[in-house]
């Protein structure tokens, strides 16, 4: 690791210097901070993150991307060095932003917002004198703040803490309902059936009335635990990414993100969000380049395969049915 000329000497101290270091994600300590990391490390993190970003665009589903986006992504992957060009990212960000900006503001999901922020962050940091170092800071703090708000909401709402949110999600959201039915604790079409209650409220002229759902007691016992486990895992990510960790502990950020991805996406396969978080986390990662590439590419592929989760669930369901 090499220190750049012009860096403040260690121990020059002062609150102002410490605040500045925090803002750069570079606390003082016995280890080199990321802003002093050599360019090889930063360039390899940036290469990995930008490449996976382009792959993400390439395999993204059409409603979420402009029709030309995959084509531009292919060109970026094929032409060496193009993915480091600010003008390339200006084009790509413009194309990418087209879809979310054309949709109603209140139709956008969390990952649409974060994707938009990520593309603009890549674009803006291409104009920095140290683009990769600046993007590393953006990636780390965007993840940290996003998880802080996610945890804040979950702590704020009693319906989440009590497990009621997960009760309703098992009952009427097929993403979790299918998992419950694959394990034999819910009827296969329960989510669709319970969804009728909610759809009946929309019938013109109807006066919405309460509707009872059938939920296995095992699910009801499990959901408060599931809720608190989610809070703990997401809080771990938030703290790991926002805390000024010493260099020898920064692998905890990668571990926290992988824990979150492993704990969340097999149950709720929001594949696009999972891939985006991994891409951003790869950018801030300070693992050794080879380890980083293996870990994040493997996780990226695994999350992408979760899109085909239904095949496994169908197999489990039929096996359970045959076993009586």
């Amino acid at each position: 690791m090499t220190a750049e000329s012009g860096a403040e000497p260690r121990g020059s101290g002062g609150v102002r210097a410490q605040v500045r270091e925090f803002l750069e994600g570079a606390p003082r300590g016995p280890y080199d901070d990321p802003m002093h990391a050599d360019d090889v490390d930063l360039r390899s993190a940036s290469f990995l993150a930008l490449t996976l970003t382009l792959v993400m665009l390439l395999i993204g589903r059409p409603p979420e991307t402009h029709v030309l986006t995959p084509l531009v992504a292919v060109v970026g992957l094929a032409v060496p060095g193009l993915a480091r060009s600010r003008w390339y990212w200006l084009l790509l960000t413009g194309l990418f932003a087209h879809s979310p900006l054309m949709r109603p503001w209140l139709a956008l999901d969390n990952h649409h917002w974060l994707q938009l922020y990520w593309f603009v962050a890549i674009l803006l940091t291409r104009f920095a004198t140290r683009p990769d170092a600046a993007l590393r800071v953006s990636a780390r703090f965007m993840i940290g703040f996003a998880f802080t708000f996610a945890v804040g909401w979950k702590l704020l709402l009693p319906e989440f803490r009590s497990g009621a949110f997960f009760d309703t999600t098992f009952a009427a959201d097929s993403r979790l309902g299918d998992v419950a039915s694959a394990f034999g604790v819910q009827e296969p079409n329960a989510a669709t059936e319970h969804g009728r209650i909610l759809r009946s409220w929309r019938v013109p002229g109807a006066s919405p009335e309460p509707g009872v759902v059938e939920l296995h007691t095992l699910i009801e016992r499990l959901t408060p635990w599931l809720a608190w486990m989610t809070i703990v895992v997401e809080a771990t990510v938030a703290v790991a990414f926002l805390a000024p960790l010493q260099a020898r502990l920064r692998w905890l950020r990668d571990a926290a993100m992988l824990l979150f991805v492993l704990a969340t996406y097999p149950l709720a396969p929001v594949v696009g969000f999972g891939r985006l978080l991994l891409v951003m986390s790869a950018m801030q990662s300070e693992l050794r380049p080879r380890v980083r590439a293996i870990v994040y590419v493997t996780a990226f592929v695994a999350v992408s395969l979760l899109g085909e989760r239904d095949v496994v669930l169908d197999w489990m369901r039929s096996t359970l049915t045959e076993a009586g």
Binding site: E4, A7, R20, L23, E24, M35, R103, P104, W105, L106, A107, L108, D109, W113, V120, A121, L124, T125, A128, T129, R130, A133, A134, V137, S138, F141, M142, F145, A146, F149, A150, G152, W153, K154, L156, L157, E159, F160, A164, F165, D167, T168, A172, H194, I197, L198, W201, R202, P204, G205, A206, P208, E209, P210, G211, V212, V213, E214, L215, E220
Partner: protein, 189 residues
């Protein structure tokens, strides 16, 4: 160390993220915005999902009749109609309600089976929604086909949006009103 310019570029989007999220939390707490929308990272935390919110709309006629209309059908209309419906369902404040009223007013509705169904954007610039009774509705014969003819004069439009809650004790989805608005329409010229 990053230069001042680099620090600004690096921190721009994290700061935007925090600003948008704080605004979303404010709207959700003070104005019943669904936590699932608005960029505040409240998805998968609340039972109150945007897509689970039902909206009910009623035309009040000059004869005092109340005719429910299929307001959810607007989500399948043009981008403008879809935008007005989706935004108002997630946050029924004055501005979004006004946008939705404008869309309802500029649309054509045909009454069938006591419900006014969305037919598309009304041709011409008539004040108020174009609401007509279907042929079957006029003749009283449900098999009667043909062009809708009888015009209905609408004097007010009512909209109400509900949000889903869940009672663990009774294992029930329970609807709670999240806002109700109405627009009085002036007399036809």
């Amino acid at each position: 160390m990053l230069s001042r310019r680099d620090r600004v570029l690096a921190w721009a989007m994290p700061v935007v993220l925090v600003a948008v999220a704080l605004h979303q939390v404010h709207l959700a707490v003070t104005r019943d915005l669904t936590p699932w929308k608005g960029g505040g990272f409240g998805m998968f935390a609340s039972v109150d999902r945007s897509t689970w919110r039902p909206m009910q709309g009623v035309f009040v006629t000059d004869t005092g009749d109340r005719i429910p209309f299929a307001v959810h059908d607007l989500s399948t209309g043009s981008p403008r109609e879809n935008r007005a419906f989706v935004n108002a369902r997630a946050l029924l404040d004055e501005r979004r309600a006004a946008a939705l009223f404008d869309v309802v007013e500029s649309s054509e509705w045909v009454i069938a089976g006591g419900i006014a169904e969305y037919e598309g954007r009304a041709a011409g610039e008539t004040p108020g929604p174009v609401v007509r009774r279907g042929a079957a509705e006029v003749s009283g014969d449900p098999n009667e086909a043909g062009e809708p003819s009888e015009h209905v004069t609408v004097t007010a439009i009512h909209l109400e949006v509900w949000r889903a809650t869940y009672d663990r004790g009774t294992r029930s989805f329970v609807p709670v009103s999240a806002g109700r608005v109405e627009r009085e329409l002036g007399p036809s010229p």
